[in-house]
Symmetry: D2
Subunit: 256 residues, 4 copies
């Protein structure tokens, strides 16, 4: 399992949100409160939007708390939107190619969760990635695979539909492969304009998800990054969040 | 492209063969003579056999010449058989999971070469890996894929047959996928008892391969590790080498 | 602060002691029980004695729990003596040169503790390192500095005297530099024959230290690596341990 | 020895100058033309000025050509001034703390050269670093040490004077320490407003230095980054360059 955060709003320096809050994502890499694994130190990553057509992505294998490059970069980069992630591996190697966010074109993707008994379905699911996306399979995580499937399933045009179709395929493969562990999917993705987040699991105990407001914009996070309780709204299980400039819109989400 | 070496013989310290010769593999990581790429600095690895059922494997992403762990390990480890590799990436990331040697059970595998236009055939070929080996696909190289295919094709019982069947499948996929670049395969693999090496390409210009003798045993290498010319025998294109305690046996090798 | 362990006895595979116990050092890198910092994931290292005049040293910057090279090496290396360390930085960078064990000739050194307000005395103390050892100052830790001072002060011939002289110099510099935080020194070092360990602090709350016995030899550890309580003896504050083949000998230690 | 580049001018994306030219610094990391060492792959770094009081610094240990974080960062960052460096170690470890640029406050520093027989004078020279700068000695390079000495000697107010005083102290220590190898110092440093560069050696064969013009600003480089010969002016040995918005001003430089 992992922890992640996403920001959308007026341009802000990344470190103001990533490092400075009392229970920041960096702090969560050492001591997460609401995660199965309190230590999320198997790599990290941040993706942000600037003047280019594609987002910047910086990922590395050290714990987020000790990487001086991350600290320096977060101090410099001012952006209207970023995603960040600290990783607790569910099996695959601590390697840059296995770190989030994953990117494709303008899209960024971070994930907290797992495909249950992934080894039993990985081959089946990878074979569903179409040729034109296959070269972007760089690592071995279930997360990168889900993102590639979502892109193949029309993420660009219909994020909810693409996510539902992907999770449906995953669940079918898990059933066919006799996977017993649940599918857990608390993820966040964006095209640089709208942030989408989803809290879903096949056992109705999906990893936590919260929305919050800052002076300058909106946050979507695995768990609150500070102790101002009134600021955070828990997203219910099996719900979908769409964050536009007007704020987050939360709606039910299910997979057939 | 890459450079590699293999040793079989009386127990010897790894650094005597890996570091000390005047044109050692470490020197070749900076200035290879017979490689398309003179600099082979996209990671390295060494695998060796000790008292355990499986070989030890140490791989990392720095240039071989600057890694102090490699130097210390090579100074300590005394072994009757080891393989070592310095990597020049043909596209995939500089990541431990993409470094050679690849291992599986008692087997180790190093490779210098490429599947031509790999992106066009990767999906087809990965789908041939059977379920029981699929979890061992950790990276994104053509080399690791070939090794998994060889294992699936019976490497344990018939190394020549498994290699031939694998390369045949690769060539068929390349043809079907309209890959224009050639297949190049100068590889070495062992079960810890017998060393096998193969020099093959679809265009009859396979990367170089040499056999040589030391006071204590036998070497199979990409290019000579010293200037004692009389000591090295070039293996002709499209030939197979089997190294037993009696020395190397060289025979023609073809793929139908 | 950090966690470490040392073994002396009949040859044993490193992973039997480093990985397999239920509260192994690897487990302690995530969840130490008796340390100020439960997470010790700012690098790790292992040093061992084989057939060479000098010990082997393998150090790296990832958390110990996720490094596959460490796992493979510990599985292969069989040794009559090793030291291992997992690091929680007290300020200096997560870098191989700052990871323990530090080595010099036949000696290895691991440390859990700190020179209080190190920045105020570092310059004074580094200037005491003699010329012939100065080139071995590779990093910026107080631990490496203490080890170099101990070597300068006669570690080879009189370990207790060299340690006492070194800590005395450190305490004098701390006093002169108005350092307020205490000196804490729970360290272990060996010439490959005898293991020495010391539990000392200037405030009488030194980090913990234990001795224990295995079927094949002796352990000295920061905290017990299993739950067999009867097997472990806590070393009192301000004591010195000498481990010979006959077992540990514990005696009072003070600094004037 | 190493290769480096510096840019000052209208805001430009870093990769336009760092990656795209035909003989870019990235290309020089593999195949430098005018360096003693053609391969400069012992780490790299880039420092740039944005909206903060201090510059951003990103340094890492992989060869510059294979680091995807560097590629992504250089693609995103648009800046009016940056320095970049690819390293060929003259002895110290490949470690982030030993990579250039070194930074202090608003200053950045890159260096190509060496203090001859550094081991003989390191201790003497480090002892000259004043207390308030000593904590910034993170690594073990002669380059970082020279930069700290320059800062101690008044770099802020008088760059030429501080450099001359520093090199004078270095030369005196080398003489006292019977260092035979020469001092070589082709370095570049900036406070974010003015770029200073110096080409000096004690044997009158200092590493090369060039100035050049782009459509948007000025470059100072170890060797030309493209083949437009008319664009580059070689700086003579023992000269100093000051780059202001009006362009480079070159003047003789000597050390007494």
């Amino acid at each position: 399992m992992c922890r992640w955060m996403a920001y959308s709003g007026e341009p802000a320096f990344v470190d103001e949100l990533l490092f400075q809050p009392c229970h920041s994502l960096i702090e969560q890499s050492r001591h997460a409160h609401e995660a199965k694994t309190g230590v999320n130190a198997d790599g990290f990553g941040v993706g942000w939007y600037g003047e280019r057509d594609v987002p910047g992505v910086f990922r590395d294998i050290m714990p987020a708390w000790s990487d001086e490059n991350l600290r320096a970069l977060a101090h410099q980069v001012k952006t209207r939107m970023f995603l960040a992630h600290v990783r607790a591996s569910t099996g695959s190697a601590t390697s840059r190619v296995n770190c989030h966010p994953f990117s494709g074109g303008r899209w960024l993707f971070v994930h907290n969760g797992q495909i249950g008994d992934f080894a039993r379905v990985r081959r089946t699911l990878e074979a569903t990635i179409p040729d034109h996306l296959y070269a972007e399979r760089h690592g071995a995580t279930d997360s990168e695979l889900i993102f590639l499937m979502m892109r193949a399933n029309g993420l660009e045009d219909d994020p909810i539909g693409a996510t539902r179709a992907t999770l449906s395929t995953v669940l079918a493969a898990m059933k066919a492969g006799s996977a017993n562990a649940p599918l857990k999917f608390t993820a966040c993705f964006t095209d640089g304009q709208t942030i989408y987040a989803c809290r879903f699991s096949s056992d109705d105990r999906p990893p936590t998800l919260y929305c919050g407001r800052t002076a300058k914009g909106w946050l979507v996070v695995s768990e609150p990054i500070d102790t101002e309780g009134g600021r955070w709204n828990a997203v219910p299980p099996n719900h979908w969040v769409t964050v536009t400039p007007e704020g987050p819109y939360v709606e039910p989400f299910s997979v057939h």
